[in-house]
């Protein structure tokens, strides 16, 4: 019974938790279909941050007084919440960053510069977000490492026929657990196991995955996992790097400053213990507390229920939209909802994505248009831009229907 309940959620009820979703644009109720860019925030998250600022705002870790202690405790609780949320072994493995991008850069700068050198191979995939490409380009330019790319198969997921050859000699494998363009969820465990067999370390970009699917780092088999708070009902300004403790322990610090040291002299410094070794300066305190509230919110609904809801809604869209628009509408990515999330990138006739989203905006339908920070993938797909609608726990079928109605209007306008 309990279990069954936990696999259902009522999006229309949840919608009421999100203040922004009650607003109108252009005299029409907003239809927010851009959660892959950033999610909306429930009242409980806004309240948690407001409460912090109103009652316990103080800098953390270094204050002995009452409210400083409360602030420290509240912030450190988030670490444990995140730890449980992703099945990490210890809060020491949870590094708070400003976003997923910084988390990936941290691995590139610290682990990458420590362990990789001239000629070493980093395997990545053609469907990566720039956040998981550019840090490696910078590392390659700096250290002479080389990138090798996994490509797409005809289903819009990763092509793994040549996985073994591609991984040959790889020291590092970096990939997205869910594409922010295709929605594709690759067989992560399979890739991680194959990578480990070759002795490579695996970095997962979980920016799209963690907000939408139950996450267990042990099950995924990764060594590092990066994600952002703002895509999972949390605030901007906070992200997470999870890493295996033994790896983090052996890595040199990245940013230098307060909190990340045990001792500093004119001659040098002694790094602090994990996780603080990687957290220089005043952390995003309110943001960490907001993220903690977001994790509570999601855990309360249940990630399996959220995944199932996403899946059903995606299936609904994949069924109804082509039904209405036929060949004119081309939705990228896997057709099978068991290997994809609720990110729907599409082209619509030869109308440019920017024009599509402009007309949709007139109907209060918010979708993204552009390269979605995935230019190599755009090149592979042979497009310069797509429009992208993406769903989350607060969307329901009426939102997909509103998208379809608005697309009719696009057709009329540019038809």
């Amino acid at each position: 019974m309990e279990l069954n309940l936990k696999l259902n959620l009522d999006a229309s009820t949840l919608k009421a938790d999100f203040p922004l979703l009650g607003r109108e644009v252009n005299g029409k109720p907003i239809v927010y279909l851009d959660s892959a860019a950033t999610s909306q925030k429930p009242q409980s998250v806004l309240d948690a941050m407001d409460d912090y600022y109103r009652s316990i705002n103080a800098n953390v870790h270094r204050g002995a007084y009452y409210i400083a202690d409360l602030a420290t405790t509240a912030m450190e609780e988030t670490r444990s919440k995140v730890q449980r949320f992703i099945g990490a072994a210890s809060p020491r493995e949870i590094i708070l960053t400003k976003n997923a991008t910084e988390a990936i850069n941290l691995v590139a700068h610290s682990w990458g510069r420590e362990y990789l050198s001239e000629g070493d191979v980093i395997v990545t995939t053609i469907m990566e977000h720039h956040a998981n490409i550019v840090p490696w380009h910078i590392l390659c330019a700096d250290r002479g490492t080389r990138l090798r790319w996994l490509n797409l198969n005809v289903n819009g997921n990763l092509k793994l026929d040549d996985l073994d050859e591609t991984l040959d000699g790889a020291r590092l494998v970096v990939l997205s657990a869910m594409s922010n363009v295709l929605g594709a969820i690759p067989p992560i465990r399979q890739i991680a196991d194959a990578a480990h067999e070759k002795g490579a370390v695996v970095v997962l970009d979980g920016a799209q995955f963690v907000p939408h699917l139950p996450t267990d780092v042990a099950e995924l088999g990764a060594d590092f996992l990066a994600f952002s708070g703002h895509k999972m009902c949390g605030p901007t300004g906070i992200g997470v790097l999870w890493g295996r403790e033994d790896l983090l322990e052996a890595m040199p610090p990245f940013l230098g400053g307060g909190e990340m040291i045990l001792d500093v002299t004119t001659e040098g410094f002694l790094p602090n213990d994990l996780p603080w070794k990687f957290e220089a300066g005043t952390p995003p305190i309110a943001e960490a507390i907001g993220l903690g509230a977001a994790v509570d919110y999601l855990a309360d609904i249940g990630m399996p229920a959220i995944r199932e809801h996403d899946r059903k809604l995606t299936a609904y869209a994949l069924r109804t939209l082509p039904g209405r628009f036929g060949d004119k509408l081309n939705i990228h990515g896997p057709a099978d909802t068991s290997e994809r999330g609720g990110v729907l990138s599409f082209t619509f006739g030869d109308i440019h994505a920017h024009d599509i989203s402009q007309v949709l905006d007139g109907e209060a339908v918010c979708v993204r248009a552009g390269h979605h920070c995935a230019k190599p993938l755009m090149d592979t797909l042979g497009v310069t831009a797509t429009a992208r609608a993406s769903v989350y726990l607060y969307n329901d079928e009426s939102d997909i229907d509103a998208l379809a109605d608005a697309l009719e209007r696009v057709g009329d306008f540019f038809g």
Binding site: V25, N26, H352, A353, H354, D355, Q358, V359, D361, G362, A369, G370, H371, K375, M378, T384, A385, F413, F414
Partner: protein
């Protein structure tokens, strides 16, 4: 919110559907410049040839983008072809002044701009301003590179 018809004026859509001066030019003698709109992935490539008298003897547009960036480039190509460099720069200045949202300088009369004035409505959709100005920046880059 302003009406979509302000943005997508008939003449703009016409330039979008039937772009003028589309194509490439051999470089040299022409110069080539590529502009990106990082916001939406638009790419405009401008080929421009200047004759000995300092006149823009030919201009071609390549690349992909939204209706506004494509139409703006097409309209620009028509408006600068045959102009002297300083006349072209004057046009650029006038066009950008029209596009500026807040204060500063007297807006040039749309009359000076000819068809380009049809892009006036873009101003009401600030995110699209870059789409309309991208081609001008790219042209300007093409004219100044060695």
């Amino acid at each position: 919110m302003p009406a979509l018809e302000d943005l997508y004026r008939e003449i703009v859509l016409d330039h979008y559907r039937n772009p003028r001066n589309r194509g490439e030019l051999p470089c040299p003698p022409a110069k080539r410049a590529k502009g990106f709109n990082p916001l939406c992935g638009d790419e405009v490539i401008v080929f421009v040839e200047v004759d000995e008298g300092g006149r823009i003897s030919d201009v071609r547009i390549d690349g992909q983008g939204c209706s506004i960036s494509q139409a703006a480039a097409s309209m620009m190509s028509v408006s600068v072809k045959g102009k002297t460099l300083s006349e072209a720069r004057e046009l650029e200045r006038a066009f950008k002044t029209m596009m500026v949202i807040e204060g500063g300088g007297s807006p040039s009369s749309p009359a000076d701009l000819g068809d380009l004035a049809a892009l006036q409505g873009v101003k009401k959709f600030p995110v699209r301003i870059k789409c309309a100005t991208l081609c001008w920046n790219t042209l300007s880059e093409g004219l100044t590179t060695e």
